[in-house]
Amino acid sequence: MPRSYKPSYKTSQPNPGGWITLLIIVVAACAICWPLTSGIFNGLNNAVGGLFDSIDSTLSGPQPTLTIAVSPEKAELFTQLVNDFNAKKLKASNGEEFRIATVSLEAEEMIDAALAGDFQAMSPDSSIWLDQLDRQYQSAQNTGAGLVGQTVRYAVSPVVIAMWRDAAQRLGWPQRPIGWSDLLNEATANKDFKWSHPSTSSASGLLATLAEFYAATGKTRGLTIEDVQTPQAQTYVNALEKTVRYYGEGEASIAKNVAEQGRTYLDAFVASEQIVINANQASGVDLVAIYPNEGSLWQDHPLALLESNGLSDLQRETFSAFATYIAASEAQQAILARGYRPADLNIKIDDATSPINASNGADPAQPQTSLQVPSAAVLDVVRESWLANKRRTNVMLVVDTSGSMEGDKMENVKEALATFLDQIKSDEERVGLFEFYNDVTERVRISELKNNRSALVRAVENLDPGGNTALLDGVAAAYERLQQLNDPSRINAIVVMTDGKENASAVSLNQLVARLQNGNQHGVPVVVFAIAYGGDADMNVLESLSNATGGQTVVGSVETIRKLYKILSTYF
């Protein structure tokens, strides 16, 4: 008789109760031994030469003890200062090493991120933004207390009109002081005069706009909301803004283009003094800083601690240590070397070693006077009025949907295009969409966004890659459409993106370049902004198109394409 099998659950099956008991005993043993076990990782780490730290640094960087948001135009300087500070390996009172991380953001993005608690300190280009942050915080929190805490200054720079020397001399400089009214009169009277200012999301752009409203009202102080809203002021600013060549993401970017494209790019632009100094030092251009006789404004680069509820003592200590570091002589000298005026008044800015000198187009005794900065409420109305009166845009998006765009590339472009459309706030801007592959298709006819925004969004979502790359035909079709619109009062632009080489167009590069140049002289001027997406994009073709129209070519990748489209949206 076969032996009957009687399973013994006690021995052949896991006994949950027993394992739990075992687990409890082990945990208890560990808890008893915790003072000793807590040293295990530290001990091992030290024993192998801080391996864990180095892995951390290499892969993702050590956890910062403070994160500071910084405005883009000084990101390079600030990063240098932060790196130097981090390299000193200073320690907090609890023995932890201070480590600062930075993030570069435009003012409005910075305010939003500050309200979201993304960082603990910030250094925008002007204190104006701190005031705005506090107002938004107080409104959101329904409190009288602000978010901005201890604030220090480490560098300042006056906002000036950067002008080619010969253009300034034509206006009478330096024999007589010149200013905003001279610039604005020249821009209105001389159709060949090309000038630009950044959008009002930077201090220099805001000042330029403010100066326009002062000029419109004949005032140099006491600007009120009523002044800004008068029809005369609106008409004046509207007419002036029509003379702006195009806007841009910031003064540093404009200066870079001036350096690369030389005298033909712009006659004048609004920027901080240090941008003029750096441009003269780096590229041998001959720009002068005009300190407007009606008054200037300062970028005062505050560094502010944000007093959010979760602010730790360590973060506060890190801020304090960094504030001390950037106020010290070593950092202050580095700040001066970059063309900023250091906050340490003991450092001379007019001696032989200072870059703030006539040969770099600057004058350390200037400015003599400032425009009055109105209240935040008036500034809000100025910004809104600028948005309403800024030069409008006809922009054609021309998108490569050839086969090589399949996968992540296409998906990221779709996101980038959606961001671009989202960034263009005014429904009065006109946008159209072409795609090219074997052929060219006009996916959405150019029209004011109030008519076609949703169609554009849908069309972007449905872009489907396949086929060859008729890049030139795509640009040519978009160009023809803009010429048909025949609206020179607006900025007319093509934003073309490709990841490959031209291989399917009917028109040749030479023919198209000739057409663009001829049209820009005799028809409606159109600027081509080109995005070379990935390593296979035909840079020569793209640069030929952008150079022929005074535009620019930028290089993007799957990681940066969204940011690039976002930046380009600020040009309109």
Partner: protein, 397 residues
């Protein structure tokens, strides 16, 4: 060996292994992760919210104090300075917005302490800062409001008006033709007054109260005075010449020095702030400041006030007193003079050696302020009326 025994030995082995590895790790880690000291041996933290005009001096003193390793009942004392404008701190006390209650507060002026006490008394029926006894609020330094103007600008105004006072400044502020009309250089534009934003710097309120004092020619100002429409019209004209209220920082004198005559020709500021920036202004702008004293003087006395609430322990309160005594010592008071502050310790002389009072005597700085009357501390209603007026008429302009 049955399973139970195996489990038993496994547990013992694991426990032994943990202990051995832990001991090895400690041996390999010299001084790492020392076992936390018992509670009673932890340092006593003295957290001092400090008014901005004395922040640099007090911070230096605190650093020195910490490095000297003072103790109380065997425990180390550690002073942490939290710089904060007096009005901002007052608002935080009022709204209980301090994440950690300070051990002590050094506001700009005694009247801020009185205002804080009044608010707490109304709410809790008791003072939180004492006015008598060992823990009473005690001044640790003095400074007063004085006129500071760029030399070229002061010269032009004195040539035209004879003296610098609020009336002169008002006439300059309202001159439609700007500096050419006032006898100055056309490049200077309009006259630009420097007044701190009272929402960020209590000095702004002090300046408005001082202006009211001269307007009415009396040292005590009432709510009726500051709500008088004629005075408000006069004050609005005056404030209309301030270049930047919106983006101004709490450090008005530093802004004045850093951004130069382009943002401000002059204004009434704390003497210590002016003195701290005199050398820098001369160096940067090649136009030294001229200092003049007004008829009605506003004094700041920076009272060291120990928080008497239950949020801080007796040991912390006593530790705060120890730091207060340190600040009042002769050596630290002599340091205060270097920062342009007037000492409260009678052993310390103001204008000896390399004191800024001696150095800048030529610019008009005097160790003894003559022929002046002290402005009386305004009450809460006056301050609130002025702040309301400021918000509606200047901040929103």
């Amino acid at each position: 060996m049955n399973r139970t025994r195996i489990i038993f030995f496994v547990i013992i082995a694991v426990a032994i292994a943990i202990v051995v590895i832990g001991l090895l790790a400690r041996a390999l880690t010299p001084a790492a992760n020392p076992i936390a000291p018992a509670q009673s041996n932890e340092p006593i933290e003295v957290r001092v919210v400090t008014a901005l005009p004395i922040e640099s001096w007090v911070t230096e003193a605190a650093n020195q104090y910490n490095s000297e390793k003072h103790t109380l009942e065997g425990r180390l004392l550690k002073v942490t300075i939290v710089p904060m404008d007096g009005l901002t701190a007052l608002n935080r006390f009022d709204s209980a917005a301090f994440e950690k209650t300070p051990t002590a507060w050094i506001p700009d002026s005694r009247y801020l302490v009185e205002l804080a006490n009044a608010a707490y008394k109304e709410r809790n029926g008791r003072d939180v800062f004492l006015t008598d006894g060992e823990y009473r609020a005690k001044p640790i330094a003095l400074s007063l409001f004085a006129w500071g103007l760029y030399g070229t600008r002061a010269q032009a105004l004195e040539a035209k008006f004879g003296q610098i006072d609020w009336k002169t400044i008002h006439d300059a502020a309202t001159a439609a033709g700007g500096w050419p009309e006032l006898g100055g250089d056309p490049a200077w534009g309009f006259f630009k007054l420097v007044v701190p934003n009272p929402r960020k710097n209590v000095g702004g309120l002090a300046a408005m109260v001082a202006a009211a004092g001269e307007y009415y020619d009396k040292p005590n100002i009432s709510v009726e005075d500051v709500t008088n429409p004629e005075f408000q019209k006069w004050l609005k004209e005056l404030m209309g010449s301030v270049t930047a209220i919106s983006g101004a920082s709490a450090y008005t004198a530093e802004d004045f020095a850093l951004l130069g005559y382009s943002v401000g020709d002059g204004g009434q500021m704390l003497e210590s702030d002016l003195l701290a920036n005199m050398a820098g202004i001369s160096n940067r702008w090649q136009d030294p400041l001229a200092v003049r004293y007004p008829k009605y003087v506003t004094w700041f006395d920076f009272p060291f006030s120990v928080w008497m609430g239950s949020e801080t322990s007796a040991a912390e309160k006593n530790a705060a007193l120890d730091f207060q005594k340190y600040l009042l010592s002769k050596a630290v008071q002599e340091k205060a003079v270097q920062y342009g502050l007037r000492p409260v310790n009678a052993e310390v002389v103001v204008n000896q050696g390399d004191s800024p009072f001696a150095k800048w005597a030529g610019a008009g700085v005097t160790p003894v302020v003559q022929r002046t009357s002290a402005m009386r501390s305004p009450d809460r209603e006056v301050l609130q009326a002025l702040l309301r007026w400021f918000d509606l008429n200047v901040a929103q302009r």
